[in-house]
C-alpha cells in the first residue's frame, strides 16, 4: 500500500461514523414527520416522548440538514481538490450520489415551500413531498444492498 500524499477525509473512520449517525437521525426524524410514532408506541418508550412532537422532530431534521449539507459540500470538494488524483468512485458510489442528490434537491424544495412567501402548485407540492420520501427509501435499500455486497464509495487508483 502506497502512502498517500493527499488523504481523502471521506476514508476516515470518524467521518464514516458521523455520516451514519447523522443519516440515521435524518431518517428517524424524517419518518417522524408521518404520524406513526405515536400510533406505534415509539413515543411511549421512556425518553422518546419528543419523537411524537412534530415541531421538535422538524427542528432536529432541519439542524441535521444543515450538518448534512455542510458535510456533503466538504466531501464533494475534498474529492475534487485532493482525492481525485488517487481514488476513483465506485459504481455503488454513483448510485448513492444520484439518490442523495434526489434527497437533497427535493429537500431544498421542501424547505422553500415552508418559507412564508413561497407557494408551489398543488401538483408540484405533491411531487416533492412524495419524491423526498421515495428517494430516501431507495437510498436506504441501496445502502443496505451495498453493505451486504461490501461495496464502498471509493477505489484506489493504481499508478
Amino acid at each position: 500500500m502506497k502512502a498517500h500524499s493527499y488523504a481523502l477525509t471521506a476514508g476516515k473512520k470518524w467521518l464514516k461514523t458521523f455520516y451514519i449517525l447523522l443519516f440515521t437521525l435524518m431518517a428517524f426524524t424524517g419518518f417522524g414527520q408521518m404520524p406513526i410514532f405515536k400510533r406505534y408506541y415509539i413515543s411511549d418508550i421512556p425518553g422518546m416522548g419528543w419523537s411524537a412532537d412534530f415541531y421538535v422532530t422538524h427542528y432536529i431534521h432541519y439542524i441535521g440538514a444543515i450538518l448534512l449539507l455542510g458535510l456533503l459540500a466538504y466531501c464533494i470538494f475534498d474529492y475534487f481538490f485532493t482525492g481525485r488524483r488517487e481514488f476513483s468512485l465506485t459504481v455503488s458510489a454513483y448510485v448513492r450520489i444520484l439518490l442523495l442528490g434526489g434527497i437533497v434537491i427535493t429537500g431544498i424544495f421542501r424547505v422553500l415551500k415552508n418559507l412564508p412567501d413561497v407557494v408551489f402548485s398543488p401538483e408540484f407540492t405533491l411531487f416533492i413531498d412524495i419524491a423526498h420520501l421515495g428517494f430516501m427509501m431507495f437510498y436506504l435499500l441501496a445502502a443496505l444492498l451495498f453493505l451486504i455486497i461490501k461495496s464502498g464509495w471509493v477505489r484506489e487508483l493504481r499508478n
Binding site: S5, Y6, A7, T9, Q33, M34, P35, I36, R39, Y40, Y41, F54, Y55, H58, Y59, Y62, I63, A65, I66, L67, L69, G70, L71, L72, A73, Y74, C75, I76, F77, D78, F81, T82, I108, F109, V111, L112, K113, N114, L115, P116, D117, V118, V119, F120, S121, P122, E123, F124, T125, L126, F127, I128, D129, I130, L133
Partner: protein, 326 residues
C-alpha cells in the same frame, strides 16, 4: 349599497385570484408566488353578527357534495389505541366543528362599560399566510393556494390528523372510513380524511363569494385583497377603539377579526374544547423553519471553505517536503 361596493371590489380581487389559481395549476416551480400577487383575506366585524347561523347552514348546503360518505363497517385499525372518528350519523351538529360542519358560531358574554353584552362570531380555519398544516403535511395533501386559501385535498389525505395537531387552533376534523387509506393499508396506516373550511375555493375560482359571506344578512364578513382588508380593519379598530385578531397570529392569517372588546376577554368567555377553538395569541409556528433555512445557505459554503483550507495546507506541506528533499 355598501354590499354592492364590497361585491364589486371582490370581483376585481376575484378575477386576480382566478388568474392566480390558473397559474398555480402549473406543475413547475415557476409557480412560486410573485411578490406582488396579493392574497385574499376576509374581515369579520363581530359587532354586526347576530348569531343567526345562516352562514353555518349555507356552508353545509353548498359544501354538501364535498362531505364524506364513509363505507361501513370501518376496517379494523391496529393497534387498538387508534380511535374511529365518525360524524356521519351526527351531520346536524352545528355547535362545533366537525367534518360536516366547517364553520360554527361562538358566543361570548362580556362586560362592556359595566354592562353585560353578548357577542357572536363565526369560527373556521383562519387560512394562515404560512400554514403549518400545509407546510408539515407529509403527503402534500394540505396545501396553500396563491390566493391565500389553505385546503386539504380529500383525494390524497390519509387522515393521520397531523394538520390538526400542528394547527394552533386544531381546526381540521377527521372522518374515518373514507379516502385513499382504504386502498393502501387500512388496518395499519391512515384513518380517513381531514375536513375544514376551504374558503369555498371552487366558488372563488368562478368569481363568486364564499357562501357564508354571500348569505349573511348583516354583512358581517367581507373578502378582498389582504392589504385593503387590513387597512379597513385598522380603520374600524381606530374608530371604535377596538381590537384586531388574525393579523399577526401565527405569523399572519387571512382572517381578520375586529372587536370592540379585547380578544383576551372574549377568549375567557367562549366555550373552548374539541372542535371549539380558542382566541389565544399565537406565535408564528413556522418561525424556526425560516431561521434555520438561512443557516442552510451558509452550511455548504462552510463545507467548501473547509475542503479548500485542507487542500491548501496539504499542498503547502507537500511543497515544503519536496523542497526539503532537494
Amino acid at each position: 349599497m355598501k354590499k354592492e361596493i364590497s361585491r364589486r371590489s371582490f370581483l376585481k380581487g376575484g378575477l386576480a385570484a382566478a388568474g392566480a389559481v390558473a397559474a398555480s395549476s402549473l406543475p413547475l416551480p415557476e409557480a412560486v408566488k410573485a411578490a406582488t400577487g396579493e392574497e385574499l383575506a376576509t374581515l369579520i366585524d363581530i359587532r354586526k353578527c347576530i348569531g343567526c347561523e345562516a352562514c353555518v347552514e349555507a356552508c353545509q348546503e353548498v359544501n354538501e357534495p364535498k362531505f364524506p360518505e364513509p363505507k361501513k363497517p370501518f376496517p379494523k385499525m391496529y393497534p387498538s389505541r387508534v380511535k374511529v372518528s365518525d360524524w356521519s350519523d351526527d351531520r346536524d351538529v352545528t355547535d362545533r366543528l366537525t367534518p360536516y360542519n366547517w364553520v360554527f358560531i361562538q358566543e361570548a358574554t362580556v362586560m362592556v362599560n359595566g354592562k353585560e353584552e353578548t357577542f357572536s362570531f363565526p369560527r373556521r380555519c383562519m387560512h394562515c399566510q404560512n400554514p403549518p398544516c400545509a407546510d408539515l403535511c407529509p403527503w402534500g395533501a394540505a396545501r396553500k393556494l396563491r390566493n391565500g386559501i389553505t385546503r386539504i385535498d380529500a383525494d390524497i389525505c390519509l387522515g393521520g390528523s397531523k394538520c390538526k395537531t400542528v394547527c394552533p387552533w386544531h381546526f381540521p376534523q377527521r372522518q374515518t372510513g373514507v379516502g385513499l387509506y382504504l386502498d393502501i393499508l387500512p388496518n395499519f396506516a391512515g384513518n380517513g380524511v381531514m375536513y375544514k373550511c376551504d374558503r369555498c375555493y371552487n366558488r372563488i375560482e368562478k368569481g363568486e363569494l364564499p357562501a357564508c359571506i354571500d348569505i349573511c344578512p348583516e354583512n358581517v364578513q367581507k373578502i378582498g385583497p389582504r392589504g385593503e382588508i387590513i387597512k379597513e380593519a385598522h380603520a374600524i379598530a381606530k374608530e371604535i377603539k377596538g381590537y384586531i385578531y388574525g393579523e399577526k397570529e401565527n405569523g399572519g392569517t387571512n382572517t381578520i377579526y375586529v372587536s370592540p372588546v379585547p380578544f383576551e376577554d372574549l377568549n375567557k368567555a367562549i366555550e373552548i374544547g374539541p372542535g371549539m377553538p380558542d382566541l389565544n395569541p399565537v406565535k408564528d409556528s413556522m418561525a424556526h423553519a425560516d431561521n434555520l433555512a438561512k443557516a442552510m445557505i451558509i452550511a455548504p459554503i462552510a463545507g467548501i471553505a473547509a475542503a479548500a483550507g485542507k487542500f491548501y495546507s496539504t499542498s503547502k506541506k507537500l511543497t515544503h517536503t519536496e523542497e526539503g528533499k532537494k
